[in-house]
Symmetry: C2
Subunit: 249 residues, 2 copies
């Protein structure tokens, strides 16, 4: 469980850091980013987990989303893991942008040759929270999860499969069944998202299931916005605020 | 003076766009980024020019600085040019990170083989503003300039050599003499900036000259901050607000 600090930059009054560690779930070295708000210097803080999309590393969110000022304001630690195992030398791992490296999909693979390393679901829901809670000033009872694209779906399945584990979450894609404490889902979707027009996102399915199951979901179709980090940045403050409502309750 | 749109992303209620054009000053194709706030759809807006540092392109500022929300709020257009001529095939142009490509230094070169293309000073103070004013809904009388690192110095020399042209500016490095309308300089400097500890920045010289010349300068030495975009992002809102005070006066 030893962490090696890769970088540390003061940011928004706190620190944006990146660490490396040997993952037991993924059997490889993994990096993750953690933003420590000023409040973390003197007290325990809730943790907001962010899962990134296809092709991303732990860098995209921390350099492009503009999340740190709002996290500092609300006293929230943000953890942004990498999106897949790295350097496992599995045949076919690096052939396409939407499979293998950079595309862990936050599931536990069940087939060879993937099942030894591609256990991103267990990594983000079990190993990583334990690591974070034992190394940073967190309140383990207050955690939430969010993400974008493949990571939005990841956030949704993590929350739906672990009733009560996450205080709040929001996601971009897909739905599922659910039985547990009341949820409050906030989703922003760019109306001009190229993956939406290509019928790859299907938010209507999510809304329809949520409506059937009486799961409260606020779905905001944002005219003109696409799938980029310009879109994420534009609504980041709203999402941090949404999570803070529960994390700081 | 024809512009080709390279990209357009809705952002913060407005649009973050990138254009390409044939530069007459630099004798090559150049890209620049322009953020159009929502207000630009219905009225004329002031323009804030941002000059980036060594190794940057027009992308760094628009993806990492988190400037668009504040610019949207204050109704300010932001223009971020590339940092040097590109693809001029001059011998020695690509040998080091701090000379040639990506390091235009916002001066007009006077010697061969550089003087034909490396005219970034004339590009950012003359050609680019004309291009912007003839293609976007600007108020040509309200412009300001700012930047970081090499671009902070660039902003400072542009403002000091063109009394009255820029309504406001702030810079990170160096000083100069000045005679013209009252200035109001805002500078943030990371106290843990690696280039500061290496004695490459010399802000004391700037403060000393400003004090001698009675030029108002607010110099904020920010403990713990370094030279990165995490630093820029942390204080971006303050700088937009500082410029808005004059641009929207």
């Amino acid at each position: 469980m030893a962490l090696t600090q890769v970088s540390s930059n003061k940011c928004a009054g706190g620190f944006q850091k990146v660490f490396e560690h040997d993952s037991t779930e993924l059997k490889c070295k993994m990096k993750f980013a953690v933003f420590l708000p000023p409040k973390a210097e003197t007290g325990k803080c809730p943790v907001f987990y962010w899962l990134s999309g296809l092709t991303c590393t732990e860098q995209n969110f921390i350099t492009k989303a503009g999340s740190q000022l709002a996290a500092a304001e609300h006293g929230i630690i943000i953890v942004a893991p990498d999106t897949s195992p790295r350097g496992c030398s599995i045949e076919g791992e690096d052939e396409t942008w939407d499979f293998g490296t950079g595309a862990g999909f936050y599931v536990d693979a069940t087939q060879d040759p993937w099942k030894t390393n591609y256990r991103m679901y267990s990594y983000v829901t079990e190993e990583l929270p334990k690591l974070i809670n034992s190394n940073f000033p967190t309140d383990p009872d207050r955690m939430s999860i969010s993400g974008h694209s493949m990571g939005g779906h990841g956030a949704l399945i993590c929350a739906l499969k672990n009733p009560g584990k996450y205080k709040a979450y929001d996601a971009t894609v897909l739905a599922g069944s659910y039985s547990g404490p009341q949820l409050d889902i906030l989703i922003d979707q760019g109306r001009d998202d190229q993956f939406l027009s290509a019928s790859q996102l299907l938010p209507d399915n999510l809304i329809s299931v949520c409506s059937e199951k009486k799961i409260p979901v606020v779905f905001r179709l944002q005219p003109g916005y696409d799938h980029s980090y310009f879109f994420i940045y534009s609504f980041m403050n709203d999402h941090i605020k949404h999570h803070a409502k529960y994390l700081n309750a």
